[in-house]
């Protein structure tokens, strides 16, 4: 055993350090390619803060939001998924993920990035940022880190669909593969000049505006979540047993943390602490606000009582919906977008799910899939060049450019939905055949905290 350990350790170390030494040797060559723009302290400060905020969204934010919704016996299982993904996805991102997503020029390579940034090799000394994002005055490492936080939270969102029943080992493998094979290409398509990027040479239908991740993050994760829920099947006792959220205080506090963290997500997507960031932050806040109020009012009118879970869910729905639009729309339309998100997602979670009887345990699809798609489309309606001259005027302002934009938005959403669904389905089927997707029945009854991790969440006596 001991020798095995040493050998293993040695190999891992070698793997990681080989690039380190290579890169060291290469420094002289790299020197030339190095981008040496001036770093703006203000912008860099904002982007570091934004990175921290997006990490904060995954945990404690999402970890609390999701873990409060499961039964007590699975609380740690959910937190574990978030926490472990913070580790493993960051490693993957630094080794190959960033390169696949942002390597190469999307105008030239519309499908997938290249290997130029493997091991962060080529960017770790850049004081500025590469050609695609030339406007920014932050080190490329900052950009890489900020984007890396998205690479964590996106698969973490999917966890909402298979909560309380998925094998932890399979979850890890699924997330790594999904990140590599679904997220990285999508990210390249939309944000690195690929064939879905607005204004890209290869753009289909002109491409889509996606300021902070309507397609890349929310549609992709939401749709994959739905596939997961369907392929994995329902939880034991679904529909008969008591599956009420075990700790709504966590869920609502987590929602508040998501709200705060989302400022980094959306306003950070400006890449700078400029007016665009401010606009993104304001519309994010307003959409969350009206989403929260809208969902609560729906319940109030239709069921007699506004619930705190509804208010929290509405806030998240509003946040999801404004995400792709946050760099393009103005405050009042943001209020409308949140309002619609609150209403539409309310029905998605309460009617859709019960009609089709899939067990999307924590409504990852109902909120992120539906809200993300809605947001992508509404971006085509409310985008305005008054906010962002690089965008186009949406349908609300201009029928011509708006129609075209909306078509591009719809196309991108459709392609994202199809791609995420098919890829996730294939991945899950392969994993089902090889590793198995679900814990044993006994493990599920006992709860994942004990069966998968050998621990208990609360010991309160």
């Amino acid at each position: 055993m001991d020798t095995r350990r040493v050998v293993m350790g040695g190999m891992v170390s070698l793997c990681l350090l080989w690039p380190a030494s290579v890169m060291r040797a290469d420094d002289s060559n790299q020197g030339e390619a190095t981008v040496t723009a001036e770093v703006s302290a203000g912008d860099n400060a904002w982007m570091m803060v934004s990175s921290a905020l997006v990490l904060f969204m995954t945990a404690p934010g999402l970890a609390m939001f999701y873990s409060g919704l499961v039964r007590r016996k699975n609380v740690l299982g959910v937190i574990m998924q978030c926490l472990f993904l913070m580790g493993i996805m960051s490693i993957v991102w630094s080794l190959w993920g960033y390169s696949l997503a942002f390597g190469g020029d999307g105008n030239v390579r519309p499908w997938i990035g290249n290997g130029e940034h493997l091991f962060l090799h080529s960017i770790q000394l850049n004081k500025g940022i590469g050609p695609i994002y030339t406007g920014l005055s932050i080190p490329e490492l900052t950009f890489m880190l900020f984007q890396g936080m998205f690479f964590i939270i996106t698969p973490a969102l999917i966890c909402g669909a298979f909560a309380e029943r998925m094998k932890f080992s399979t979850m890890v493998v699924f997330s790594v593969l999904w990140g590599t094979l679904v997220y990285c290409p999508l990210c390249h398509w939309v944000w690195d000049g690929g064939f879905l990027a607005y204004g890209s040479k290869n753009a289909i239908q002109g491409g889509a505006l996606d300021f902070a991740g309507g397609t890349v993050v929310h549609i992709s994760s939401g749709v994959s979540a739905l596939i997961c829920a369907i392929v994995m099947g329902r939880r034991l006792g679904y529909g008969t047993e008591d599956m009420r959220p075990h700790n709504l205080t966590y869920t609502t506090l987590g929602a508040a943390m998501l709200w705060v963290g989302w400022f980094g997500f959306n306003a950070g997507s400006a890449g700078a602490a400029n007016f665009l960031a401010t606009n993104a932050m304001v519309v994010t806040h307003l959409s969350a606000s009206s989403g929260a109020v809208a969902w609560a009012f729906m319940e109030w009118v239709l069921r007699g009582k506004p619930s705190v879970l509804g208010t929290a869910s509405g806030a998240v729905a509003g946040l999801v919906c404004i995400t792709p639009a946050s760099g393009y729309v103005q405050p009042m339309p943001a209020l409308v977008m949140g309002l619609l998100a609150g209403i539409v997602c309310y029905f998605a979670c309460s009617s859709l799910k019960s009609t089709f009887r899939y067990d999307d345990s924590l409504d990852a699809f109902g909120v992120h899939g539906v809200g993300g798609t809605l947001g992508a489309l509404l971006t085509g309606v409310f985008a305005t060049t008054a906010v962002n001259p690089l965008a186009a005027d949406g349908l609300f302002y201009n029928q011509d450019t708006g129609g075209q934009l909306l078509a591009g938005q719809a196309t991108a959403a459709g392609i994202t939905i199809a791609f995420a669904a098919v890829a996730s389905f294939i991945l899950l089927k392969i994993l089902d055949a090889t590793m198995g997707l679900r814990v044993s029945q006994q493990g599920e009854l006992q709860g994942l905290d004990l069966s998968e991790h050998g621990e208990e969440g609360y010991i309160l006596n």
Binding site: D242, M243, R244, P245, E299, R303, S307, L309, G310, S313, Y346, C349, S350, S351, K353, S354, D363, G366
Partner: protein
Amino acid sequence: MKKVEAVIRHFKLEDVKNALTEQGIHGMTITEVRGFGRQKGHKETYRGTEYTVDFVPKVKMEIVCADSQLSLTVDTILKAAQTGQIGDGKIFVTDLKDVIRIRTGEIGEDAL
């Protein structure tokens, strides 16, 4: 000796305890329980999924007393715990074979 078990409402606990101590009954053990009976539970809705919660939180009080104290104990509880609304709870009386005080090993009524 008798064991009196009373299932009562939470917010009556303090009253019942005080009434009992006033009557000189100075020992009891209480447990958090959930009850099911005539009193209806309630519905809770979480994102459109409705749950019917049948069990209502109650407190169970166990009082061991000498046979001679039984009616005093029961009456005191009855009076203090009553609201007249459905769900006030029940009192169960059982015969007890023996009581022992762990600290001293005393047995029977001395142990109370």
